[in-house]
């Protein structure tokens, strides 16, 4: 019985192609993460997050990425169930055949990575789409422009008494804003809760963004989160090593001239990319 009416090869190829896309995405993600360790008060990282959060092409890719992650997970589960059903009665003696062990663990390592993805999305993506409250940042020049606009309205008598009082309160609040909420060098208000955004910038101020730099730094200062993060990336490395070799085979790339190179590249990618991710929490935890 097949759960999805696609041939087994089509399903495996789709799974592999989705995996290939995710490999490229991981590189992009790692390169953005590395901006955190740059000693610029989060300028590059916040700019990268701003670009990723506002660029329309990136937004389209974000939808594609979510769809591809879903396809990758759903197909992996379907293929695993179908494969299990292909042998309803198991052997009494477990296999003694020498095989690539990575394959046997793909669904479990993948499952663990998927669980981490949920946690990761709760910490970051959910803040971005407004499901969960996090920390926020706002450009000082945008806050200024917003105030000037309001001040003009006040001068022209377009604000009612309540709005005028609110604006006066905001001006007082922003004059007494704590130092750790202002990044003078990069001209940004940072590390703000939503309540603080409204307090300092006004309830109708909309030009604020999630402050992923502060959120990432806060998370990586927590030893338990960093430990989980590092363990997951060890698991990811193990998953990737088999995944890259496997996807080449599934997509038909098996040639005695290049098999050695494929294996070396798989090992290189599976070690280097998780290391690039792991560098960030280690730096934040122990050096920063």
């Amino acid at each position: 019985m097949k759960l999805v009416k696609l041939t087994s090869i089509t399903k495996k190829m789709a799974l592999a192609a989705a995996g290939l896309f995710l490999l490229v995405f991981l590189l992009l993600h790692a390169s953005i993460n590395l901006c955190i360790i740059r000693d610029d008060g989060g300028l590059w990282y916040r700019n990268a997050c701003h670009f990723m959060g506002t660029n329309y092409i990136v937004k389209v890719f974000e939808v594609i990425l979510l769809a591809i992650v879903a396809v990758h997970i759903i197909l992996a589960v379907i293929v695993t169930i179908e494969n299990y059903m292909a042998r309803p009665v198991r052997y009494a003696v477990s296999s003694k055949t020498k095989t690539h062990t990575g394959s046997k663990w793909m669904i479990w390592t993948g499952g663990l990575i998927a669980c981490f993805l949920v946690l990761h999305c709760m910490n970051f993506y959910a803040v971005k789409i407004g499901l969960v409250e996090g920390k926020y940042t706002a450009k000082i020049d945008k806050v200024d422009a917003f105030f000037q606009q309001k001040a003009m309205k006040m001068q022209n008598g377009e604000l009612n008494q309540k709005e005028t009082e609110e604006m006066t309160a905001q001006l007082q609040a922003i004059n007494s804003i704590p130092e750790n909420k202002v990044d003078v060098k990069n001209k940004e208000l940072v590390n703000l809760t939503k309540e603080e955004v409204f307090k300092y910038c006004g309830t109708d101020f909309e030009d604020y963004e999630p402050d992923f730099y502060t959120m990432a730094n806060e998370l990586f200062k927590k030893p338990i989160y960093t430990l989980i993060y590092l363990l997951v990336f060890v698991v990811l490395g193990y998953h990737l090593f088999h995944a890259i070799n496997s996807l080449c085979q599934t997509l038909g790339c098996n040639h005695k001239k290049y098999n050695g190179a494929i294996e070396t590249c798989a090992l290189g990618y599976a070690v280097i990319v998780p290391l690039l991710f792991a560098v960030v929490p280690i730096y934040v935890m122990f050096i920063k």
Binding site: M1, K2, T7, S8, I9, T10, K11, K12, M13, V79, E82, N83, Y84, M85, A86, R87, P88, V89, R90, Y91, A92, V93, S94, S95, K96, T97, K98, T99, H100, S103, K104, M106, H242, N245, S246, Q249, T250, L251, G252, C253, N254, H255, K256
Partner: protein, 249 residues
């Protein structure tokens, strides 16, 4: 050699099977595994018991009939041999040997250690052949074939269809078998005209019969008595992709 055998016994496809234990004495290390089972069966017949059923035919490793899952490995603990070529010198005195039939949904048990492997025949019927063009026998050199391609095709054609690949695979996948059959034709000019139709039909039938998909563990390659290579599976994937995308079939 003294041996303890734990053998899967099952009266028919529908009945419930169980392991039964037998003790054998004075087994020569030089006898083959099947000869050892013959000795056991002789003793069982003398005791008016049902002998253990197992498939075998040529006993030369070329027919693909024999196939037993011995101590966790298809065809036992020697590399690149069929069960009939496995000898008792690969075991030690006092060993316990567990013998199971191939386990896969498309290979239902007929009796004891005998499984129905006609699923492979059904896959072959879908396209594992070249349509015959009648007439005189063509000259041997009329169709030029590079030596390396001829060798590769011959290596793929060495598959005897024993089913060890299915038995070894954790997914009971028949990809190595199907890929060998597809490759032996895909590599030769005679197989080209029907290549797209063949690969699509054989893969469709393989799936219909309930074989699992390939997880690239390469257990099949490790246990194949004819050492069919995993590169055939990659070729099958290429041929399938080409057929799906390019062909008009």
């Amino acid at each position: 050699m003294k041996l303890t055998l734990k053998i899967w016994r099952q009266d028919n496809a529908k009945s419930k099977g169980r392991f039964e234990t037998y003790h054998l004495d004075n087994i020569s290390p030089d006898c083959s595994f099947l000869e050892m089972l013959d000795i056991l069966n002789e003793q069982l017949i003398n005791k008016i018991s049902h002998p253990v059923c197992f498939d075998n035919d040529c006993r030369e490793g070329i027919c693909g009939m024999c196939g037993l899952y011995i101590n966790g490995r298809p065809h036992g603990n020697d590399d690149a041999v069929t069960t009939c070529q496995l000898h008792m010198r690969h075991f030690s005195d006092g060993d316990t040997i567990t013998i199971e039939p191939w386990r896969a949904k498309p290979f239902p048990i007929i009796r004891d250690l005998v499984v129905d492997r006609s699923a492979f025949d059904k896959i072959i019927q879908e396209g594992g052949y070249i349509s015959v063009s009648t007439g005189g026998v063509p000259d041997g050199n009329a169709i030029p074939i590079p030596k390396n391609k001829a060798d590769e095709a011959m290596d793929s054609a060495a598959c005897i269809g024993c089913g060890a690949c299915v038995a070894a695979c954790k997914n009971a996948s028949a990809m190595l078998f199907v890929s060998a059959k597809v490759s032996q034709f895909a590599l030769l000019p005679q197989g080209k005209p029907e290549a797209a139709k063949r690969v699509m039909a054989m893969v469709k039938k393989m799936d219909e019969l309930g074989f699992g998909s390939c997880s690239n563990t390469y257990a099949c390659e490790a246990e194949c008595p004819k050492q069919i290579k995993r590169s055939n599976i990659a070729r099958l994937n290429r041929e399938f992709f080409k057929a799906k995308v390019v062909s008009e079939e």
